[in-house]
Amino acid sequence: MGFLARPTWGFVMSWPDPHHLRWTPTLRVPSDDGTEIAVEILGDNHPGPTLVFIHGWTFSSRSWHYQRMLAERHRLVLMDHRDHGESGTGPREHRTIEQVGRDLYAVLEATCKDRDVVLVGHSMGGMTIMALAAEHADLFGAESPDAQSARVKAVALLDTSAKRPDDHTFGLRGPFAGLFLKQWTSSLALMVADPEKAERARRSGSAISVRISGFLNLHRTSDRRLAQFTEAMSAATKAQVVGDFWADLDAHDKLKALEALADVPVLVVVGVADRLTPVTDARIIAAGVPGSRLLELERAGHCAMLERPEAVNAALLDLVANVDHQPAKPRRRSRAAR
C-alpha cells in the first residue's frame, strides 16, 4: 500500500441530524445478564480487520456519524451501551464500567469470532475497552488461546481517561469552577436520587441545554449543529442512567489494565480543549502504554470524532494499515517488562 496514498472521500460530509437518532439494529446481542445490546454491522463483505466502535457516556452509536463512511473500506460494528440508544434496559446495579466491558465481550463473541478486530472507544467507550482488557487480556495481542475468539489487533482511545484526576474542574478556573462543580454534583446526585424530578428539570432541547452540551463536549469554535446533536443524544438517555453511570465513571481506575494494551498498537486521540477528559488524562494513557501514539487535535473538545472527523478517520486508517502490515508485536511486552 502506498504509504502516502490516502483516499479522498468522494462526497461532502453532512451534518448529523439531532432529530433522527432512532435506528434499526442489525442484531440484538444478549449480554451475560440477558440485557440486549443493539448492534449495527456495516460493510459486512469486507475482509480484513473489523472496526468495533464503542460510544461514550450519554451518547449512542450515532455519535460515530462521520466514521460510518469507513464502511467503504472496512467492516464496521457499532454498538449501543445498555440503557443507551436502542439497547435494552438492564438492572440498575449493573450500570458499571465492568458490566459494559462484559457487554462488549458479548458483542465481540457474537459478531467478530475468528476475526481481527480494531477497537475504537470514545470516552466511556475507551474505559469499556480498558475493562475488557482487565478481564480478557488474552484477547489482546497476536495469539489468542482458542482461535474461535476475536483477536484484538489494535485499539484507538478517543477523549478518554484511565483514571479521573482529583482536581478535575472542567477546564474552568477561579470561583466559577467551584460554582459549576457544585451545580454539577448536585444535578447528578438528583438524577440518582429523584430521577423523575431531574427529568423535569432537564429542559431538553432548550437553547440553554444545547449551550451546556456544547460547552462540555465541544471546542468553542465547533459548529452549533454539533452541539444540538450531542444535546439530543444526551437528552435521549434517561436521567437516572446518566447519574448511575457517572458515579461509576468518577470512580473508574484502569491504570493497571493499560498493561494488556501494551501488546497491540494503540492510538490515543484527544482534543486540546477537552473539558471532560482533559489532555493530561490522554497523556497519562500515552505515557502508560509503551509504543502508543498520541494525537492532540486543535479545534476539538471532548468529541474529536465529530469535530475533526478528517483527522480521526485518517488516524484510524493509519492504525488499521498498521494491523495489515504487522501481524504480531510480541516485543512490546518485553519492553514493558524491561
Binding site: 504509504f3 490516502r6 502508560g288 509503551p290 501514539r293 498520541l294 492532540e296 486543535e298
Partner: protein, 498 residues
C-alpha cells in the same frame, strides 16, 4: 554500547552550522558529521574560478550574524567560505564537528526509538537526526560514451582541481547553467581556445555587482541598522517584484526577457550567434544567471559555441552528432548537481523498513513543511523537498526551518515526548497544496527541462509562495499534525529522581 547523542547533524554547510548554533543556544548536546575536511559545504566544495553567489551578500548570510565587511555586493566563493568559517569559529561550532566522517547509512530503530548511523568512523546513535546534507552537494556527472578513453583532464565544476592550469590549453566547457556562466569568462581569459557545448541557451541578465567601498563598510560597522535596512530592501524587493512574476504570472516575465534581450544585443553583435544564444523558453524557468562577461567570452573569436549534441568522447576530444571532432586538452563538466535524485535518500531507512528513496520513487520527493516525512520519526531535513527558491536567499528558508526544529526539540523536552512522526494525511494535503500552487508557475509552465523538475515532470524542489509565508508556517511546531510517542511514566520518574 555504541556512541549515542541527543542530536546528530549531518553536514557542516550553512544548514549544519546554523543548526549547531541554535542547538548550542538551547544547551542541547549534539555532534556534526562532515565528510569533508573543513566546514562550508557547497562553499567549500565549489572552488572553480569565478564561483560566486547570485544572491546579494547582505541577504545571503545568517540574520543573526551580519557581515559588514562584504567586499562585493555579490560575493565570490572564497569570501562566503571565510564568512562561514568565521561564524563557525565564533560560535565554537568547529569543536563539535567531526571532520572526514561520512554517513553510509541511517536506520530508525523502533525498539530503542533512536536513529542508528553507520559512518566511516563507526556506529553512532541519536534521538534526533538533522539532515543538512545539502541541496547542491552531489555532482551530476552525465555519462558520455568513451569518456574513460579521453587522454586529457576531466573536471566537474564542484570537483575543481585548483592546481590545474588551463593557460594555453584547449578547453571544453559542457553546460550553460549557473556554474558554466561563471566559469566560461574565467577560463576564456587564459585558455588558448574555448569550446562551449550548449544544449539549451541561458537567459543572461546584466550583473549588478559592485565593489563595496571601505567607507560604506565602515558605515555598516558603525550603524548595524543600516545594513539591516539594505538586507530588508533586497528581501522585500525579491518577494514583491521577482516572485509574483515567476510563481503567479509568467506573462510578467516579459520585463526580464526584455532586459536579457537588450543585454544580448549589446554584447553579441553577430545576429547568427545571437540567434544561437537566444533561449526558447520563458525566462525564470531555469535559474536566472546574471553575468557581464559570459556573452562577450562566448562571442570572442577564440571561443567556439557548439550547439550540436555530443555523440561521444574520443581520446583527443569531443565528437558531436554532426561528425566534427573538437580536439581539446581538458573537459570541464559544468553539469550541475543531482537534486531531485540525490542519493542521500537511499541511505535513510524509516520505521517500516523502507528507505526515503523507495518512498519517493512512488510518490515523488516530498515532505511536510519541507522538513519532516511520515514514517521517519525525529528526522528533520534542512532544505528538504519544496524549500528551494528561484528569487531569494535560501538562508532565510534554513533559518525558518531551524525555528521549527528548535520548537519541536523544546516541546520534546517540556512534555516528555520521545518521537514526533508527521501524519501521512497532513503531509499529502500539504503537497497537494504546494503542487497546486506550482501549476501556473514559470518553473512548471516555462517550457524548459530544468533541475527543478523530476523525471516525471513533478516539481519537488521549489517553494511556490512568498518565503515569509513559509516562515510563518514554521514559526511554531504544530502538534496537531504529528503523532507523539511519550517517554514512559517510569522513565520520567527515574529522570526526576536522578
Amino acid at each position: 554500547m555504541s556512541e549515542s547523542h541527543r542530536v546528530v547533524v549531518i553536514g557542516a554547510g550553512f544548514g549544519g552550522i546554523g543548526a549547531s548554533i541554535k542547538l548550542a543556544e538551547q544547551g542541547i548536546e549534539h555532534v556534526i558529521l562532515e565528510k569533508a575536511d573543513d566546514v562550508g559545504g557547497t562553499w567549500w566544495a565549489n572552488k572553480y574560478p569565478g564561483c560566486r553567489c547570485d544572491v546579494p551578500s547582505h541577504l545571503y548570510s545568517f540574520s543573526f550574524a551580519p557581515n559588514p565587511d562584504w567586499s562585493d555586493s555579490y560575493s565570490l566563493q572564497p569570501e562566503i567560505w571565510r564568512y562561514l568559517r568565521r561564524v563557525a569559529e565564533e560560535h565554537t561550532v568547529i569543536e563539535r564537528v567531526r571532520f572526514g566522517c561520512k554517513v553510509e547509512a541511517a536506520r530508525w530503530d523502533d525498539d530503542d526509538k533512536q536513529w542508528v548511523l553507520e559512518t566511516s568512523s563507526g556506529t553512532i546513535r541519536c534521538d534526533v537526526l538533522i539532515a543538512a546534507h545539502g541541496f547542491l552537494s552531489e555532482p551530476r556527472i552525465p555519462h558520455f560514451e568513451g569518456i574513460e578513453t579521453f587522454t586529457g583532464q576531466v573536471m566537474h565544476s564542484a570537483e575543481w582541481d585548483p592546481s590545474y592550469d588551463v593557460t594555453g590549453k584547449r578547453v571544453a566547457v559542457i553546460g550553460t547553467g549557473a556554474s558554466a556562466v561563471q566559469i566560461v569568462p574565467e577560463v576564456h581569459r587564459d585558455a588558448e581556445h574555448l569550446f562551449v557545448f550548449q544544449r539549451t541557451a541561458a537567459w543572461i541578465l546584466p550583473h549588478r555587482g559592485r565593489a563595496i567601498p571601505e567607507k560604506e563598510k565602515a558605515l555598516y560597522r558603525r550603524i548595524p541598522a543600516l545594513q539591516r535596512a539594505v538586507r530588508a530592501y533586497h528581501y522585500w524587493s525579491a518577494e514583491f517584484v521577482v516572485l509574483p512574476a515567476l510563481a503567479k504570472n509568467p506573462a510578467r516575465t516579459k520585463l526580464i526577457r526584455n532586459m536579457a534581450m537588450k543585454h544580448l544585443e549589446e554584447q553579441v553583435p553577430d545576429p547568427e550567434l545571437r540567434a544561437k544564444l537566444t533561449p526558447d523558453f520563458v525566462p525564470g524557468c531555469k535559474r536566472l544567471t546574471p553575468s557581464n562577461d559570459y556573452l562577450p567570452a562566448v562571442a570572442s573569436p577564440s571561443t567556439t559555441l557548439v550547439t550540436d549534441g555530443i555523440e561521444r568522447i574520443e581520446p583527443t576530444g569531443i565528437r558531436t552528432t554532426d561528425g566534427t571532432l573538437h580536439e581539446v586538452d581538458v573537459i570541464i563538466l559544468a553539469t550541475g548537481f543531482r537534486v531531485t535524485d540525490n542519493t542521500f535518500s537511499a541511505l535513510v531507512t524509516g520505521r517500516d523498513g523502507r528507505t526515503l528513496q523507495e518512498m519517493w520513487e512512488e510518490s515523488g520527493m516530498s515532505a511536510y513543511n519541507g522538513t519532516t516525512v511520515a514514517g521517519f520519526p525525529n528526522l528533520y531535513l534542512l532544505v528538504g523537498p519544496n524549500t528551494g527558491i528561484g528569487h531569494t536567499s535560501v538562508i532565510y528558508m534554513i533559518e525558518a526551518q531551524l525555528t521549527y526544529v528548535m520548537d519541536a526539540l523544546r516541546l520534546m523536552k517540556e512534555r516528555g515526548v520521545r518521537t514526533f512522526d508527521v501524519r501521512a494525511d497532513v503531509q499529502t494535503a500539504f503537497n497537494e497544496e504546494v503542487q497546486r500552487k506550482l501549476q501556473p508557475s514559470v518553473w512548471n509552465t516555462g517550457g524548459c527541462v530544468s533541475w527543478y523538475l523530476d523525471k516525471n515532470g513533478r516539481n519537488p524542489t521549489i517553494w511556490p509562495d512568498y518565503t515569509f509565508r513559509f516562515a510563518r508556517r514554521l514559526r511554531s511546531f504544530d502538534l496537531d499534525s504529528y503523532y507523539q510517542e511519550l517517554v514512559s511514566a517510569d522513565e520520567r520518574a527515574m529522570v526526576g529522581a536522578r
